[in-house]
């Protein structure tokens, strides 16, 4: 089984982003960037499948500017076999990304395509499902467990109120939840070795895909901060306030 894992370079989860004073966008100049956390779960699961002898090749792909090479190096450091950059300076949105990934899938012909369930910058959570629709294949989203059974996979996925398990014929698209696994740390020697590995480069403009954005960001702003309230000195005082002031308990 050949696995394609799509990964996104995002602002690191520990960074507190600031909005530009003119409200045209978020200021990410010089901030720390990392692999989207859920995409790391996807890489990790693919690597484990290979280590168990259930996959033969793991290919990581990232889309965007040449800066995305750093997340691809991270994937190579973790142990993926090949890395592909689909290079573009154009702004990318989920539908366009899904269309580009479809073109990559048609070239690479993987049996399983994995992504993280959502990117922590736009919090859209759409790309995997869009890709599955465009490919005409099944989807197992928010996966917390994945098992291979011959030419199908069983995916346990998070739903409101619990989990459900689906059988998916391959090829299929799976999006990873945090609960799927704990991604390995990249050891320094592996990261050094990864720097020597080639990253294949496709130019998005040459892939015959319309990635023009359908959405325009008109304005960004920080939401009004919730005002900090008061400290209460005791449980007694808390109950007093909740009953008489906030009136939320009887």
């Amino acid at each position: 089984m050949k696995i394609l894992v799509a990964i996104k370079r995002v602002v690191d989860s520990n960074v507190k982003v600031r909005v530009k004073p003119d409200g045209t966008g978020v200021d990410i100049v010089g901030v720390k960037m990392s692999v989207n956390p859920f995409d790391e779960n996807a890489i990790e699961e693919a690597l484990r499948l290979k280590e168990r002898g259930q996959a033969t090749e793991v290919v990581a792909v990232s889309l965007g500017t040449s800066a995305c090479q750093d997340v691809l190096r991270h994937a190579l450091g973790m142990g993926v076999d090949r890395a592909i950059l689909v290079e573009t300076d154009a702004p990318l949105q989920p539908l366009g990304v899904a269309k580009l990934l479809k073109a990559v899938v048609e070239r690479e012909k993987p049996n399983l395509i994995m992504l993280g369930k959502q990117a922590i910058d736009d919090d859209a959570g759409q790309t995997g499902q869009m890709l599955a629709a465009l490919l005409g294949v099944g989807q197992g989203t928010f996966a917390s467990r994945l098992e291979v059974h011959d030419s199908e996979i069983h995916v346990t996925r998070e739903v409101d109120g619990g989990t459900e398990t689906l059988a998916l014929r391959l090829p299929a698209v799976v999006t990873a939840d945090l609960r799927l696994n704990e991604p390995r740390y990249v050891k320094l020697p592996n990261l050094m070795m990864a720097k020597k590995k080639p990253i294949e480069n496709y130019k998005a403009a040459e892939m015959g895909v319309d990635i023009s954005p359908h959405l325009t960001v008109r304005h960004v702003a920080h939401p009004p901060l919730r005002k900090a309230g008061i400290r209460v000195a005791s449980v007694h005082e808390l109950v007093e306030k909740l009953r008489s002031e906030a009136k939320v308990v009887s």
Binding site: I120, A132, V137, G138, F142, L168, A221, L238, A246
Partner: protein
């Protein structure tokens, strides 16, 4: 042209989020249809027909919809999509699974977790774990949207809209090679987290799954509350994942949110900062949670919570 809501239900009743989506849909001033997909779902269709603001209910009933697949639901919506300018649903695990598929099949963008409808094609939605709100305009002829339910009011009842049965052949299993195998739902007497009036949430400080229940369950019972948890508590195995509150879990906005032993990382507060009243109980006076709490109690939760239960009884 009309707008369409994909109804959210549990097999027996509509979820309150559907009523909130109906309120949101009024912004477009288009005839509003509600799509109910289910198995033996007549009573759910009737419930939808009683919501004020609904012009028609479309009811698709089939055994395959007892455990609906995203592939089938998306195909049903696409089948009727030519009548609709707006296709929306509350932001839930179901709609997150289904609507992006619909959007891609219709070759349009999708807006997830919209908090404000500014205009027929302009919305405000949270990004970066809700630390930034973006005003976004869509150029598509069909708008596909999920809405943050807590941002909209519950629509009233008293309506009597017509219900139309629709037969669509569902080929998800054969066409896409997907089969539903099993489910494991956490059964609880407590109210549903997404719509509960009061939510009691615990963090990793609770220490163990046993203590999470032992300390918080009595308080939840006293206040008829739902239980929530931080990602850290869920990852540590102290609580099931379906009660995780936060950027990547469920977003809640109850009347009262009590955060017990929760530090207040931005990824957690993203999921609860629109609550009407927030109470924080934490041993650490400098915990970030106190910056969003209306009432903060610096105390040992293992003493404070049982004392709170006694004081409330």
């Amino acid at each position: 042209m009309n707008s369409l809501i994909l109804a959210e239900h549990d097999g027996h009743k509509l979820k309150p989020a559907t009523y909130r989506a109906v309120s949101a849909a009024q912004h477009w001033q288009l005839p509003l249809h509600v799509l109910v997909c289910g198995h033996q779902a007549d009573s759910i269709a009737q419930e939808a027909a009683a919501i004020q603001g609904v012009a028609k209910v479309i009811h698709v009933d089939a055994p395959a919809l007892a455990h609906p697949l995203a592939e089938d639901m998306a195909d049903v919506i696409v089948h009727i999509s030519s009548d609709y300018q707006v296709i929306l649903a509350p932001h839930t695990a179901q709609s997150k699974n289904v609507l992006p598929r619909v959007a891609a099949l219709l070759d349009v963008a999708m807006l997830s977790d919209v908090v404000t409808v500014v205009g027929p094609q302009t919305y405000v939605r949270p990004i970066y774990a809700g630390s930034v709100y973006a005003t976004v305009e869509s150029s598509d002829k069909v708008q596909v949207i999920t809405l943050r339910a807590s941002s909209f009011a519950v629509a009233a009842t008293g309506n009597d809209a017509p219900i139309v049965a629709l037969n669509v052949s569902l080929e998800g299993a054969a066409k896409y090679g997907v089969r539903w195998l099993a489910q494991s739902l956490n059964v609880s007497d407590r109210p549903d987290l997404a719509s509960a009036r009061v939510v009691i949430s615990g963090g990793r400080s609770l220490g163990s799954a046993a203590q999470f229940q032992a300390i918080l369950a009595p308080l939840a019972e006293t206040l008829a509350a739902a239980l929530g948890a931080t990602r850290a508590a869920v990852d540590a195995g102290f609580a099931p994942n379906d009660i995780q509150v936060g950027q990547t879990g469920t977003v809640v906005a109850p009347e009262l949110y009590i955060a017990v032993g929760i530090s207040g990382a931005v990824q957690h507060t993203a999921g609860m900062k629109d609550s009407k009243v927030i109470v924080a109980i934490n041993y650490d006076a400098d915990a970030a949670i106190f910056q969003v709490a209306d009432y903060g109690l610096v105390a040992d939760l293992f003493e404070a919570v049982p004392a709170l239960v006694d004081a409330l009884r």
